[in-house]
C-alpha cells in the first residue's frame, strides 16, 4: 500500500536516562524537526519521557519475514544463554527476564 501522506518517521521513546530507547510508533512529518515536535505530543504526553528519537523510515534496513529460517535454531543452544549465570541487575538487563530461581 502506498502512503500518500507526508514522509514517515519512526519514533523511539526513552523513559529514564540510561534506559534503552523503545520503539513506540510513527508520525507523518515534512522534516525531522516537525517530526520530533509531533512525536512529543503523540508519544510523550502522558508517560514519563527524557528523550525522543525520530528516524526516517527509509533509514531502517529490515530483514524479511520470508527469511524466517535466519532465526531458527538448528541445535540446542540453551547452554549459550546468559540467564544461567548470576550477574548484578544493574549491569545486565537480561538478568531481569531470567526465570525465577
Amino acid at each position: 500500500m502506498t502512503d500518500s501522506q507526508l514522509p514517515v518517521y519512526e519514533v523511539f521513546h526513552q523513559q529514564a536516562r540510561g534506559e534503552p530507547h523503545v520503539y513506540v510508533g510513527s508520525v507523518h512529518a515534512p522534516d525531522p524537526e516537525m517530526a520530533l515536535m509531533l512525536a512529543k505530543e503523540q508519544y510523550a504526553r502522558r508517560q514519563a519521557c527524557v528523550n525522543l528519537w525520530v528516524v526516517p523510515i527509509e533509514a531502517i534496513t529490515a530483514s524479511d519475514y520470508e527469511d524466517d529460517a535466519l532465526f531458527e535454531h538448528a541445535t540446542d543452544k540453551s547452554y549459550r544463554e546468559s540467564w544461567g549465570y548470576k550477574t548484578p541487575k544493574t549491569t545486565h538487563r537480561t538478568d531481569q527476564e531470567s526465570p525465577a530461581e
Partner: protein, 262 residues
Amino acid sequence: MKSIESFNDLDDMTRTAVVDLLYRLGDDALVMGHRDSEWTGLAPILEEDIAFSSMAQDEIGHAHVYYQMLHELGEPDPDTIAFGRKPKEWKCAALVCVPNNRDWAFCIMRKFLFDSAELVRLAALTNNSLVPLAQLARKLKGEKNFHLMHDRLWVTRLGQAVKASQDRMQRALDQAYPLAMGLFESTGTDEVLAQKNICPREADLMKEWESAIIPVLTEAGLQIDANAQPVLGGRTGKHPEALGELLNSMQLVYNIDPSAKW
C-alpha cells in the same frame, strides 16, 4: 526589592493590581484554549490535530491555575469565574476572541504571536517579587516553551514554502498583529505592578515581545506593518461580538443549572 512571600502581605492597591493581572492572564488563556479546541478534528494532519488539541487543553489548564490563584485572593472559585461572567466582565484581548473561520494561517500566526507574548511575560514573572506568582510562572514556562517551538516550526515553514502560503501568512500577520498588540494594553495597574517589581510595564513587555518575534518572522520572510495600531478595549471589557457567542456556547450548561455536575 524585598520579596512578598504571601498574598496576605499585599496592600490593597497592589492586591487589586495582581487580581487584574491574573484575570488578564487567565481569560486570555481560557478563550485561546477554547478557540484552539475548535480545531479538534479539523487540523491539517492527524498528528497536528492531536498536538493542537493537546495544547488547547494545556491552555485551559493554565487558565485553571490562574483562576485558582484568583480564588486564593478572594475571588470566586474557578468554575464560577469561567462560567458565571458576562462578556463585559472578561479581560481577554481581542486577539483570542476572533473566530477561527477555519483559517489555519491566521490561527497559527495568532498562536505564535500569543505564545511569544505569554512567554515574554512568564519569563519576567519568574523573577518577580511575589513569590507564589513567581513559582507559578516557573511551572508554566516549560509548557509554553514547547508551544512556541511548535508555532515557530509552522510559521517558518508556511512562510517559506510557496508563494501562496507566504501570501496567506503575510495576510494572517497583517490581520493578527494589531490584535496581538492589544495584549499589551495598559490597564492603569501596570504602573503599580512595575513599582512593586511584580510585572514589568506593558510597554516594556511589548518591546521585548517585538524583539522576540521579529527574527522568526524575518526567517519566515514576513514583515510587520510599521504603521499598525493596537486594537484596544479587551482589558476593560470591550470585546468583539464573537466573545459573546463563544461564551454562550461555553457557558450553556452552567446557565441552565449552575449546580450541575458533569
